[in-house]
């Protein structure tokens, strides 16, 4: 009985406590820089697309909301012909970002994705691609990967030794 009266009194005293609510539309909440919100595709420091259309993000995605089509440009660089994310299915788990070998796909601290029409939540590549490098400013996949493209032969990447000449190794 006493405990009931005491808890009534204590709850009544909460009248004078400050309120913890963040009044959202008027008062924006703090979102950490690594918050997992709207997804973007970033570019490398040269301004080219980072995505190499490896499909790893699409495979990693637990709800299968990424789809893309790989193709190759005249320089021998792979890129996605189209790239589509269905945000009405995305659960913002960030697994695509973890899977991506080139830091192309990144989650950003933007949560305001409300739409009246569900179809508007399907983002195409031109909606996803941004102008800058996003979270990893200096990283340039094609300059560190040992893949041959038009203006860069094998062994010419940063911190990469030239390939061994197999014939010199013959006895």
């Amino acid at each position: 009985m006493w405990s009931i009266i005491r808890s009534l009194w204590l709850v009544l005293l909460h009248m004078f406590w400050p309120r913890f609510t963040v009044q959202y539309p008027d008062q924006k909440p703090y979102l950490a820089p690594r918050y997992r919100g709207r997804i973007i595709l970033s570019r490398d420091p040269d301004g080219e697309e980072r995505c190499v259309a490896c499909y790893l993000c699409a495979v990693a995605c637990p709800v299968d909301c990424i789809s893309l089509q790989a193709t190759e440009d005249p320089h021998g660089r792979r890129y996605p012909e189209w790239f589509r994310i269905n945000f009405s299915r995305c659960i913002f788990c960030g697994l695509c970002e973890e899977a991506c070998p080139t830091y192309a796909i990144q989650l950003t601290p933007d949560i305001e994705l409300g739409e009246y029409n569900r179809q508007n939540l399907v983002y195409e590549k031109e909606n996803l691609l941004i102008g800058g490098t996003g979270k990893y400013p200096g990283y340039n996949f094609w300059r560190v990967a040992g893949v041959q493209i038009e203006d860069k032969d094998k062994g010419q990447s940063e911190r990469e030794a030239p390939p061994a000449d197999l014939r010199t190794l013959l006895p």
């Binding site: 709850v11 009544l12 913890f20 609510t21």
Partner: protein
């Protein structure tokens, strides 16, 4: 003015005020609960979020009004009406002020008890007609809870009746000119309060609804305005019990300086807020605990209260 016309005006005013107040209570309850839980509650629609009720009503009217195919259709539709009818009828005997009372009878309290017993049918029938096991469990709990709490609800009021010497609510208020009955009848007041909470199925006695165990208890299958009627019916019940407590134990419209209607409104509002505070602070007991308190503690206490009051009234030789 023509007395019949006057009566009709009084009826309309009371009906309008009571219905609107209980709709507004939805807003009040959400704001107060939020206040006691360090939140804001609805504060977007209109000033202080007051128009939230209107928004809710519009929403509820546009909801699909679904009758499950396995339900007993006529009873299912009729059940929510019963609770509104019984509670609204009870307001007929409440004396808000000496002028503002729809009908004055010498069996007002008995009428209230009868109507509140009829109110149980609403819930039991709703549960039975829904043909759903959770509803049925809720209805079963409602039936046993209300039957056992009704027993001592009647007994707890008898002390006041003895002191006032009448079942008429107006006579009871007039008998409190010198001292509010809450002082000589404190035990009766506490018992009536507990029984009243159980009667309106509010927390901590909301076992028929018990949304954490029974989905939504007796109204699991209800949607749209039929659900709205149960909802408003519950708030009407809260207004009714609060008004009755202030009439029976706190001198009704009696009070210094301010006009009578202000006093009754203030007292009723105080008890409404107390009901909401209870909801903010209390956990829900187990069903067997609820029943054993009812029969093992509250019933004997109310009998003792009755016997002692009777002895005192006799000894004073009235």
């Amino acid at each position: 003015m023509n007395p019949t016309l006057l009566k009709i005006v009084v009826i309309l005013v009371i009906l309008l005020v009571v219905l609107n107040v209980s709709a507004l209570l939805i807003w009040l309850e959400r704001r107060l609960l939020a206040l006691w839980q360090d939140r804001y509650g609805p504060n977007r629609v209109g000033p202080f979020g007051l128009l939230q009720v209107v928004a809710d009503m519009i929403k509820i009217f546009f909801k699909e009004d679904w009758i499950p195919p396995f339900a007993d259709k006529w009873v299912f539709v009729f059940a929510p009406a019963i609770i509104m009818i019984t509670v609204l009828l009870t307001f007929a005997v409440i004396p808000f002020t000496p002028l503002f009372q729809i009908t004055e009878t010498n069996i007002a309290l008995l009428f209230f008890l009868g109507m509140s017993s009829l109110g149980v049918y609403s819930i039991v029938l709703a549960a039975w007609a829904s043909n759903n096991k959770y509803s049925l469990l809720g209805g079963m709990r409602a039936a046993s809870q209300m039957l056992s709490y009704e027993v001592f609800m009647g007994l707890s009021m008898m002390g006041t009746v003895m002191l006032a010497g009448s079942f008429s609510l107006r006579r009871i208020v007039e008998a409190q000119q010198h001292i509010w009955f809450v002082i000589p009848q404190f035990l009766g007041f506490v018992l009536f309060l507990i029984a009243g909470i159980a009667e309106t199925r509010r927390l901590p006695f909301d076992l028929p609804e018990a949304e954490s165990e029974l989905v939504a208890g007796f109204h699991s299958e209800y949607s749209g305005m039929k659900f709205g009627m149960f909802f408003v019916g519950e708030y009407l019940g809260v207004v009714l019990i609060s008004a009755l407590i202030s009439v029976l134990f706190f001198g009704g419209w009696l009070g210094p300086v301010l006009p009578p209607v202000v006093w009754i409104v203030l007292k009723t509002l105080f008890f409404i807020c107390f009901f909401i505070l209870l909801r903010a602070a209390m956990p829900r007991p187990r069903f067997d605990q609820l029943m054993s308190w009812g029969w093992k503690w509250l019933l004997p206490l109310s009998l003792a209260n009755l016997a002692i009051t009777g002895a005192v009234v006799l000894a004073r030789g009235r």
